[in-house]
């Protein structure tokens, strides 16, 4: 049974808040709702970025997701995503 949009958003935020590592791959969110299509999860995660609940973080060649308050950016580049 697929989650509602609100439930899925809450599950993604919880995952990003409680995971041991602050940065998560998009695949890490798939488990939030095994019944949802990967593209659906991706769209919800990207919407959460627009809402400021998540931010994008780059490892150099891979883009990951994180809760903004869990990333201490030593270069002082907060404010961008």
């Amino acid at each position: 049974m697929a989650l509602s949009l609100e439930e899925l958003e809450a599950a993604i935020i919880e995952k990003a808040t409680k995971s041991p590592k602050p940065q998560l791959y998009i695949k890490d969110f798939y488990k939030c709702d095994p019944d949802a299509k990967p593209r659906q999860i991706k769209n919800v995660a990207n919407d959460l970025v627009k809402k400021g609940e998540l931010m994008f973080w780059s490892s150099g060649s891979t883009t990951m997701y994180a809760r903004p308050d869990r990333i201490k950016d030593e270069e002082g580049s907060e404010g961008i995503n």
């Binding site: 695949k27 593209r39 970025v49 994008f56 580049s77």
Partner: protein, 428 residues
């Protein structure tokens, strides 16, 4: 910013090839941060090591791509390059520009950045090299509002698709590479700007098998032009090549500087045909098109006499990548022929792309290119996911090991057997 001594880089002002050092020095007269670029590069030449470090920035607000964060590891010495982020600007398909647009882009970059750029980056974007974090949003604002254009892709996104110049100036184009490239770039703006995948994904469109954008080597999804009927022959032009007539140089004039002697159609075309499907009958060139693999060699050599067939389209190959990690891969032929038609908004190609994505997003591991996923899971499984009948064209040769992954339903009686029944007939 003070001028720095650059005795090592000065050596690169010598020689006949245009010098980026000379260019940067001239630019430094109006953009003094170029002195710090030169200063830090000189330090790298002295230390023989890079002085850049990476930062987590990926885009402007709401974008997960288009910007690559970069910081100097010696900012006190070179404050002008303390932040030195890259901005990728999506290029117009085919890399034609009006000077009006190009000048506007340069004005924008002079205002917000270092004034240093690449025409173009390896994936095809115009690359602006070096700006500060606080300039990113204003730059993006002006780019979208005043210039009506946008950033390209980076990270685990669809990277900015690229194409050869196609029908715009090439007689060999088998489809309109610019049109499909532009259409899909617009169609997939979300995937370009926001991460969607286990890792990067690239489209490249080459309108013939000469593959001028290296689609087969450099793109996860390679669309390479071909045809399904016969090579079109102008026998009078064949004779003109054989006779060495004026205006009929071999290879479109590509060998004019060599001492190769008179054109020899037997040696240069017929004998070099990989399938040996051509011969002369009197003055006429004959081709057994059923044996032709459409490699382009004969057409390359005699462009006025031979043309690709009239029923044109493309082959789709999937899965190329550079060697990190398990070795380089070329794309593998998946769809032998597909029409590339604007009339249905390239629906057939979009269907193929989305089948690949739906599968790869599900089963691809983090940081795994689709070609690696295909290799890990196997081509037979990939073809079945794509709902494509396996063809001999999918392989160079059949496998030489017998380790087939049989499925239970393929074996009469299945796999469910009783060892006790077995032992009644076969004592141990």
């Amino acid at each position: 910013m003070a001028k720095h001594e650059t005795p090592l880089l000065d050596e690169l002002e010598k020689g006949p090839w245009p010098s980026f050092v000379t260019d940067l020095k001239q630019q430094a007269e109006t953009k003094p941060e170029c002195w710090d670029i030169l200063g830090q590069l000189e330090l790298s030449y002295k230390d023989r090591i890079t002085h850049w470090k990476h930062g987590g920035i990926v885009g402007v607000f709401g974008y997960g791509g288009g910007i690559v964060g970069r910081y100097s590891d010696v900012p006190k010495q070179f404050p002008g390059v303390e932040h030195f982020h890259t901005v990728r600007i999506a290029q117009p398909s085919g890399l034609y520009y009006s000077t009006e647009n190009l000048r506007a882009l340069m004005d924008l970059w002079e205002k917000y950045g270092s004034g240093v750029t690449n025409m173009h980056g390896s994936t095809g974007d115009m690359v602006f090299l070096g700006t500060r974090t606080e300039n990113l949003e204003p730059l993006f604002w002006d780019l979208t509002h005043d210039l009506k254009q946008d950033l390209g892709g980076s990270g685990s996104n669809l990277r900015t698709p690229s194409c050869c110049l196609g029908e715009s100036r090439c007689e060999w184009a088998c489809y309109d590479a610019q049109e499909v490239c532009n259409h899909l770039t617009q169609h997939y703006q979300d995937e370009i700007h926001r991460p969607a995948f286990p890792y990067k994904f690239k489209f490249k469109f080459s309108a013939c098998a000469n593959d001028c954008v290296a689609a087969v080597a450099r793109s996860d999804f390679s669309v390479i032009g071909t045809w399904k009927d016969n090579i079109r022959i102008d026998q009078a032009a064949v004779k003109a090549y054989v006779d060495g007539a004026d205006g009929y140089p071999s290879n479109g004039g590509a060998h004019k500087g060599g001492n190769w002697g008179a054109f020899d159609i037997q040696a240069e075309v017929i004998d070099l045909c990989p399938t040996q499907c051509m011969w002369m009958e009197g003055d006429e060139l004959k081709i057994d098109d059923a044996e032709c693999t459409r490699c382009m060699h004969c057409i390359n050599v005699m462009p006025r006499a031979l043309r690709p067939g009239a029923q044109q389209g493309a082959s789709i190959l999937i899965g190329a990548k550079a060697p990190i990690l398990d070795g380089a891969q070329f794309s593998t032929l998946v769809i032998p022929f597909i029409e590339v038609k604007k009339e249905n908004d390239f629906e057939d190609i979009i269907d193929v792309i989305e089948k690949v994505w739906d599968w790869w997003m599900e089963v691809g591991k983090n940081r795994e290119r689709v070609g690696e996923t295909m290799q890990r899971i196997g081509l037979p499984t990939f073809l079945s996911v794509m709902e494509i009948e396996p063809l001999p064209q999918h392989v160079k040769e059949p496998r030489s090991n017998p380790y087939v992954f049989w499925k239970e339903e393929e074996v009469p009686g299945g796999w469910d057997r009783d060892i006790k029944e077995f032992r009644k007939r076969h004592a141990m």
